[in-house]
Amino acid sequence: MNPTRIRRIWLIVLLLVAAAIAGSLITFAMQENMTYLFTPTQVKNKEAPDNGVFRLGGVVCEGSVKRTDGTLAVSFSVTDRVNQIIVDHEGILPDMFKEGTSIITTGKMQGTRFVASEVLAKHDETYTPKEMQDAMKKAKEQKTKSCGKI
C-alpha cells in the first residue's frame, strides 16, 4: 500500500474512534441527566421510579399551599384533577407560582410525599408549555375543581 492510502486508513480509523467515543459519551451523559415527566395519576399507578429523580407536573391544588411561619418550608398538592400528591419544598417559590396554575417540580418520592428540589412555573395561563398541555387536557375533561384522591 502506498503512503497516502495508509494515511487515509489511519484517518478513517481515527475518525471512527473519535465518533465512537463521542457517541458513547453523549449517551452516557444524557442518560445520567435525563428526567421523565409524570402526572400524579401515573405516580399513583407506580409508573414513576421509586427511588430516582423525576419531574412531577400538574396544577397546584387550590387551598393546599401551607407554609411553616418564619421558615422557607412549604408544602402543597399537585393534582391532575384525578389524583393528587403532596409536595414538600424548602426554598423560594417562583413568581408565577399560584394556586390553580400548572407547575413542574423536580425531585423524588419519599414515602407518599414528593420532595422537590426545584419548582418551575415559567408560564402563566396564556403560556402553558406544550409538555403540560396534554396532562392538563385530561384534567380539563374532568370539568372539576376538585383535586382528586390523595
Partner: protein, 643 residues
Amino acid sequence: MIPELGQISLILSLLIAFLLSCLPLWGAHRNNTVLMQTARPLAHAQLLFIVLAFVLLTYSFTVHDFSVAYVQRNSNTLLPFIYQISAVWGAHEGSLLLWIMILCIWTSAVAIFSRQLPDKVIARVLAVMGMIGVGFISFMLFTSDPFTRAFPVQSEGIDLNPLLQDPGLIFHPPLLYTGYVGFAVAFAFAIAALIDGKLDAQWIRWSRPWTNIAWAFLTLGIALGSFWAYYELGWGGWWFWDPVENSIFMPWLVGAALIHSQAVTEKRGSFKSWTLLLAIAAFSLSLLATFLVRSGVITSVHAFASDPARGIFILTFLVLVVGGSLVLFAFRAPGKEGGQAFKAYSRETLLLLNNLLLAAAALMILIGTLYPLFADALELGKISVGSPYFGFMFSLLMLPLVMLLPFGPITRWQSEQASKPIKLLLPWAILALGFGAISFFFWPGSTIKTIGGVIAAVWILCGTLVFVRSRFKSSGNGFTAEMIGMVSAHIGVGIFFFGVLMTESLSIEKDVAAKPGSSFSLRGYDFQFKGVEQIEGPNYMADQGTVVIRKGESIIATLYPEKRMYASGGNSMTEAAIDSGITRDLYVALGEPLDNEGSWALRLYVKPFIRFIWLGALLMAIGGFIISFDKRFKKRHANEANP
C-alpha cells in the same frame, strides 16, 4: 386606515421580494445586464416597504390603536412610552416583522457595500436573500399578520408581558436578530458561489467581513440576553441551557467555526467544501432556532404562542432551505479540494481541530435539545435533558480548545516544527499552572473549577501576548486589523472562561427566612434585612425591601429589591437588586412574605467575577467588528472589477 396601509406595504414588499428572487437570478443565468442590475433597486425597495410597515405598526402602538389585535394583546394605556416602542417586537408577530426588517437591512447593506463585486455575483447573492425574504414575508402574512383587526374592539389593551418590561428587551432581540439573520449573507454568498460553480478564494474574501459582523452582533445579543436573565429573572443564573438558549448558541458555535475556516479558505485555499458547508449550517441553524422559538414546540419563557400552522410553515421552509442547499452542494461542491497541501503540524491542522471541536459542541447541543422532541413524538415518554449534560459535554470539548488556542496564531501555515511554539509557550504554561495552584489556596472554597479558570485565563492571556510580542519583534511587521481583532477575541475567550469557572465554583447562594433586623453572613459580607415597604411605580405597585450590606464596620451598599404587581394584573415580578463590582456581585432578591410580622424569604448571592463573563463576550464581539474592517477586504482587484 393606518393598519391597512401597513398591510398593503407588507404585500408590496412580498411582491418585490418575489421579483428580487427571480429577475436578477434569471439575468445572471442569461448574462442580461439589465435584469442583473434590478437587484440593487429591488433590495432597497423591499427594505423601504418593510420599514414603512414597521413604522406603521409602531405608530399603532403609540396611539393605542386597540382595534389592532396584536397591539391590544401586547400593550395598554399605562405602558410607559419606551415600552410601547419595544412592545412592537415583544411578541410573535412583531418580532417576526423585526426579523424580516433586519433581513432587508442586511440585503440593502450588501447592495450598498459591494460596489467592487461583479454584477453576476451581486445579482445571485441578492436573489438568494430575496428568496429568504419571500419565505419569511409570506410566513408573516399567512400565519402571523401583525395588522389583523380585532373584533369586537376593546377599549383597553391587555399588557406587555411584565418580564419583557425592561431595558434589556429594547436591545436584546434586535442585536440577536442582527446576528443570526446576518448569517444569511454568508449563506447567500455560499449559494451564489455554488450556483456559479467558481469556488475561488474571492467569494470568501467578499463574505468574510459580513460573517464577522454578524457573529459579533450575535455575540452581543447572546451576552445581553444572558445579562438580562441574570438580573431580571431573579434566580441569579446567567445561563440555563434552556432549549431556546441552546438553539441560539448552536449558530454561534458554528459561526465561530465558520469565521476560522473562512480565514483558511481565503488565505490558503484549503477547506473549501467545509467552509461552504459551515456557511449553510450556520444559517440553517439560525432557521432552526427561529423554528424552535416560534413554533412553540419547546417549553420556554421565549415561546409565546403555539400554533401548529406556524410550526409547519417554518419547518417546511427549513426543510426546503436545508434540503435545497445540500442538494446544490452535492452537485456543485468542488470535487477536488484545492489549496496548498499542509503538514500534520501546521496552522491549518490547528484550525481544523478548532472547527471540529466547535462543530462537535454544536452537534452535542443539537442532540440534547432535539432528543426530547423526538422522544415525545415517538412516545418514548416526556423527557428533559438536564443542564449537567450540556455542562459536562461542553467542558469536555472546550478543554482541548483552550489548551490549543495559544498555539494557533504562533504556528506557521503549511508546516511548522512543533518544538518551536512549544518552546515559546512552555514557560507560560508553567506560569499558568503555578497561578492555578496558588489560587486554590488563595480563595476559600476553591475547587478544581477555580484552578481551571485561573489556568485558562493566564494561559490564554500570556499565550496571546506571546503572539503579540513575536509579531513586534519580527522585522517591521505592523499589526493588521485582522490580527488586532483576533487578539481581542482570543483574550475575550480567556476572560470569559475565567468568569464562568470562577462564578461556577466560588458563588455562594443562600435562601433565607429573614425577620426585620436580622443579619446573614456570606463570605465576609454581612447582609442586614431592614424590612419591606410599599411603593408605587408608573404602572405597578411594589413591595420594596431594604438590605444593608456591610463588610467589617463599613457599609458597602444598600440594596432595594422589589416585588412588583403590575396594574394590568397577572403575576408578580421579582426585581433583584445588585451591587456590582469587578471582583464580585452582591445580589439580593425578594421571595415572598412568610408571616404577619414582616418576615420575608430572601435570596442572597455573592457571585465572584461574574462580570468577566460578559466582559469576555464583549471583547470577542469587538474582535469580530475590528476584523471586518481589515484593509484586505476593501482591496479592489483588477480581475474583480472586470471579471
